[in-house]
């Protein structure tokens, strides 16, 4: 007896007739806390539905939050200094620049040689046991044969060649200072290249000078031949010899100096 009215009321609550939106599932209860969905339904000869609430689609405004994305959160949390520090400074990309004192090649991927930190998290090492110093018996297990390591184990000794390391450090070492050996080789190579370039330029300049002088000489020659009394005689009878031209140029120079 007690269950019946409860069931009826439940059915009424979820009935599609009472739902403001017929298309929506009546199973999902929607509470109208604003009272804006109030409607009066009158039946009879002239059935009508009158919305008594002010607006049908009005919803509660979202709650005001003090801290939103509208504020500069970096300034709000006092991280501007850290931001400027991290963004303004040029950080080198490699891990070795962060850990310069660490030996070995650390810039390569840790996944390659199975030395990644991620693998330590994924497969934690066995721990919890107390670490004890080794006794003489245990140390005897570390007795080694004299001689160098076999070839296949020498990979760790290889030092990676750094590319263009000294590209911008040409003037790091002053002429009077002692230069490290490896730098010496590089500097000597660069010096050679520079010298070759210089030489080439010098040669070019030298050639230019030669040409200019030649042209000048010819010009002078022409000039002198025009003014000299011999010119009239020589003009008819071919060019003068090498010695003649030299003499004329000499004369010319004398004239010009006078």
């Amino acid at each position: 007896m007690m269950a019946d009215p409860f069931r009826i009321s439940k059915v009424e609550q979820y009935s599609p007739k009472s739902s403001p939106r017929g298309s929506r599932s009546p199973v999902v209860p929607r509470q109208d806390s604003t009272g804006t969905l109030k409607a009066t339904i009158s039946l009879g000869k002239n059935p009508s539905i009158v919305h008594t609430g002010p607006f049908y689609l009005i919803k509660e405004a979202p709650g005001e939050s003090e801290l939103t994305g509208a504020t500069n959160l970096m300034a709000h949390y006092g991280l501007e200094h850290s931001y400027n520090k991290s963004s303004g400074r040029k950080v080198k990309d490699t891990l070795s620049s962060f850990l310069p004192n660490l030996p070995g090649q650390i810039d390569s991927s840790g996944y390659q040689d199975n030395s990644s930190l991620r693998s330590v998290i994924d497969k934690p090492p066995i721990g919890g046991k107390e670490l004890m110093m080794l006794n003489s018996m245990q140390l005897s297990g570390f007795r080694l044969h004299p001689g160098p390591l076999p070839e296949q184990y020498r990979v760790f000794n290889q030092v990676p060649q750094k590319k263009n390391k000294h590209k911008h450090k040409r003037h790091k070492y002053k002429p009077g200072e002692a230069v490290p050996h490896h730098m010496e080789v590089v500097t000597s190579q660069t010096d050679l290249a520079l010298a070759a370039e210089k030489k080439h330029k010098k040669q070019k300049r030298h050639d230019d000078d030669k040409e200019r002088r030649k042209r000048k000489k010819e010009k002078k020659k022409k000039k002198s031949s025009k003014h000299s009394p011999e010119h009239a005689a020589a003009s008819g009878g071919g060019g003068s010899g090498g010695g003649g031209s030299g003499a004329s140029s000499q004369n010319n120079s004398q004239i010009s100096t006078q």
Binding site: M74, V91, D93, T94, L95, N101, M133, F142, L144, L149
Partner: protein, 135 residues
């Protein structure tokens, strides 16, 4: 906290240095180097003990897992901080832009609706509690 971190850093550096020295000894082993090698092995064990002791002092240090990805791929972990900061800044600015756009849109919509439905908008504003549209 910083002192315990510094201590740990020092211990790790010392440990790495010991391993490096062992590598040198082992790479071209001489018979007279056995004693030195044994000493070095004992030093490694004591170094591990020291690191184990310091473990308890740095329990409350939290490291983001993404940093490990940077380190594992041979990148400078400082770049993580930089990238994080830049991402946060960009996201903040994007959200700020969205909020400003919605605010402007709301103001514009209210103005337009008021011109078309003045009575309804007056009612609406009365319900909302804002008497005039915010510009």
């Amino acid at each position: 906290m910083s002192s315990s971190l510094e201590q740990l850093e020092q211990s790790l550096e010392q440990f790495v240095e010991n391993i490096r020295q062992i590598k040198i000894i082992v790479s071209d082993f001489q018979p007279q180097g056995q004693n030195v090698l044994n000493q070095k092995i004992q030093t490694v064990v004591s170094g591990l003990q020291e690191i184990e002791k310091l473990k308890s002092q740095v329990q409350d240090v939290h490291v983001p897992l993404e940093v490990f990805d940077y380190i594992d791929s041979g990148r400078n972990p400082q770049l993580y901080t930089k990238d994080c900061m830049e991402k946060a800044m960009n996201k903040n600015e994007a959200v700020r832009g969205k909020i400003d756009s919605y605010r402007r849109f709301r103001a514009h919509l209210l103005v337009e609706l008021t011109s078309v439905f003045p009575a309804e908008m007056a009612k609406y504003r009365a319900i909302r509690g804002d008497e005039r549209p915010s510009s």
